[in-house]
């Protein structure tokens, strides 16, 4: 496989997405709605900016003491009767989950939302072991039935229309043909999932926050699906990235206030569950997963990305994400945050993602932990260039532009030539497949004179 094929072609995938204009508008509005709710949910909180600053500072402290916090967490959790495991990568994680399930002869696992297990491709692994995996968040269940990945980290099925869900449920759950009322479809899913909760032998959740001080983990849901699974099953497993640590329980005050407001504008998720100890006669496991995060920690300019609490506000605010869809990024976490996390894990594969942005900065403005997202996007572009990973269509014009801009006289002369040339040049010379800039937009009318000449005429005289 050559390198070019290995990298995600965001622009190409986005072009396919926007070919359906009506659906693109619908998708844009669906995502914008989340952003509008976020704005309404944060507007009357006077201390909002103070909270963001504190969250960012707490996460700074976490990253600079991550090793000792993780050890403290392990010690407390172990004292609570929890079995703690460490996984260096996705394979390691999946193997540990598989071993726990095999030991307990688990035939069916109920799972609540976890971007980490998406990252590790856990479902696929367990299915090859003959274990049934049921995603229990409604959106996740929908995409699981469609054999798709989430297109958004908070609203995984936001790209699917209710008529499509209706058709899917008609096929899989035998709902009435043509029915697309969300209330009716949700009730059908409730009945279906209740039978799965009752039949499951083990439950697995992601982790929103892990408290070093108490050794417990916190999971936030609106549906209550994490708790339905965890409390019904004798075995509970919680998979967390190493960066999910908060130092003390009082720091949860900051993060629980920020998370749901940033995600959907709710003051808090309906359920904020704190799992500290196993239930009577039950087993509780926590798997601490690295999978490249400790390496990312060493990248000074980019380590702030590890502060992310996965609220999705950056993608809801991104004009590119809203009109290109989650799948155009080809990564587990899409949108602006995905575009600064993924190049650190695999630069060749994700080198195009830092360019999937207008650098407008809306993402950084809304980030609840103040990650400098658009600045990191810009910094990644420089690295992609330095590593020689830019495609020729970008690197050649940049090299030429660099040479021209470094020579003022050459720049003046070329400017003069282009101002007259653009008037008579046939259109196919500028508007062709080698010039992506003119795809979907026109060149401006050339001005009569250069800005330099205009300035000399109009301002210097005064």
């Amino acid at each position: 496989m050559n390198n070019h094929q290995r990298s995600i072609d965001h622009a190409g995938k986005a072009a396919k997405f926007i070919a359906d204009l009506e659906r693109t508008d619908w998708h844009n509005e669906a995502i914008s709605f989340l952003r509008t709710k976020r704005d309404a949910g944060t507007a009357d909180l006077e201390e909002w900016e103070e909270l963001r600053n504190l969250a960012s500072q707490v996460k700074d402290n976490v990253l600079s003491n991550l090793d000792s916090y993780l050890l403290q967490f392990e010690e407390k959790a172990t004292a609570n009767g929890v079995k703690v495991h460490w996984a260096k990568d996705g394979d390691d994680h999946n193997r540990i989950v598989g071993e726990i399930l095999t030991r307990h002869k688990v035939a069916s696992l109920v799972k609540s939302k976890s971007m980490l297990t998406e990252e590790c491709h856990l479902n696929q692994y367990l299915e090859t072991q003959g274990i049934e995996v049921i995603d229990t968040d409604l959106g996740e269940r929908i995409i699981q039935m469609r054999n798709e990945a989430p297109s958004h980290i908070v609203a995984p099925a936001i790209h699917i229309r209710k008529e499509e869900v209706g058709a899917l449920f008609h096929e899989k759950l035998h709902t009435e043909a043509g029915a697309s009322d969300p209330k009716y479809l949700t009730e059908a899913a409730r009945q279906h999932l209740r039978t799965k909760f009752l039949a499951a032998d083990a439950a697995l959740t992601g982790v929103n926050f892990a408290i070093a001080e108490t050794g417990g983990v916190v999971v936030c849901t609106n549906e209550g699906n994490a708790d339905m699974g965890v409390h019904m099953c004798p075995v509970q497993i919680h998979s967390m990235g190493i960066e999910k640590i908060v130092p003390q329980s009082r720091h949860l005050g900051i993060f629980t206030r920020l998370l749901a407001r940033s995600a959907t504008g709710q003051p808090i998720t309906i359920y904020t569950s704190h799992y500290q100890k196993p239930k009577t006669d039950g087993e509780m496991h926590i798997i601490i997963v690295d999978n490249g995060r400790s390496i990312h920690l060493g990248k000074e300019k980019f380590r702030n990305a590890l502060k992310c609490i996965r609220c999705g506000a950056c993608m809801n605010s991104c004009p590119v994400y809203r009109r290109s869809g989650g799948y155009s990024y080809g990564s587990t976490v899409p949108g602006p945050i995905g575009s600064i996390l993924t190049p650190g894990f695999d630069l060749e594969k994700f080198k195009n993602l830092p360019f999937a942005s207008s650098l407008c900065g809306a993402c950084s403005d809304v980030c609840p932990v103040k990650i400098d997202i658009h600045e990191q996007l810009y910094a990644w572009r420089q690295i992609v260039y330095q590593e020689g990973a830019l495609p020729k269509s970008k690197s050649m014009p940049l090299t030429i532009a660099g040479k021209v801009l470094a020579r003022p006289k050459l720049y003046d002369a070329l400017g003069k030539i282009m101002r007259s040339a653009l008037k008579w040049m046939p259109k196919f010379l500028t508007h062709n497949r080698f010039n992506a800039w003119t795809t979907g937009r026109d060149l401006p009318t050339p001005p009569k004179q250069s800005f330099k000449a205009w300035y000399a005429d109009n301002r210097k005289k005064n």
Partner: protein
């Protein structure tokens, strides 16, 4: 060992020690915590009812939960017909219609109530029941999540949850639907 290699990589790569910021933030200023609690709970589709407005509790429950046959209660003021001390398997609660439980803590800024396995030993109870009533003393409402966590001792419990309303989802075209996987309705009974 994965553990040692992960910790070593972190030690090699982590930034210099950065101190924790001081907490808490802006001091509480709310004078009517109950009114704020009520308003925010209703936004999350909870129902808030003052005990003083209920002359006869059994009659009120009969009227408001007419279709509920299996009822359990951990509150001394009301006894249901399902006894929790006889329940060993959580699956046995799958046909429960109504649960009445007490909460030691409510949060004004979001209408959430705290329930832990201190109050309710059967952890599944507030989730598996079709309908939930939470009894909360008005004196136990605090301003915000900072005050809430200050008053909790997480290390002393096995499980605890903030519940801010009935189970809900907006996963199908962002239409809000109440009654996803957990309880279909959530009522807070205010005492005191």
């Amino acid at each position: 060992m994965s553990k040692e290699s992960i910790l070593q990589a972190i030690r090699n790569n982590k930034p210099e020690g950065i101190k924790l910021p001081d907490l808490p933030i802006s001091p509480p200023k709310n004078e009517n915590l109950l009114a704020t609690f009520q308003a925010n709970a209703q936004t999350s589709k909870s129902r808030v009812v003052l005990m003083t407005s209920i002359p006869d509790l059994p009659q009120w429950i009969q009227e408001n939960y007419a279709n509920c046959n299996q009822i359990t209660s951990t509150w001394s003021e009301y006894s249901g017909n399902v006894r929790l001390d006889q329940v060993e398997d959580p699956n046995a609660l799958s046909t429960l219609d109504l649960a009445i439980v007490e909460s030691p803590l409510g949060v004004a800024e979001n209408g959430a109530v705290w329930i832990s396995d201190r109050e309710v030993p059967q952890r599944i109870l507030p989730f598996i029941t079709q309908h939930l009533i939470v009894v909360l003393d008005r004196q136990h409402i605090v301003e915000n999540m900072h005050a809430a966590y200050d008053s909790l001792d997480l290390a002393g419990i096995g499980f605890g949850v903030f519940i801010a309303g009935p189970s809900k989802t907006a996963d199908i075209e962002q239409s809000l639907v109440v009654g996803a996987q957990g309880s279909r309705s959530h009522t807070v009974l205010i005492t005191g």
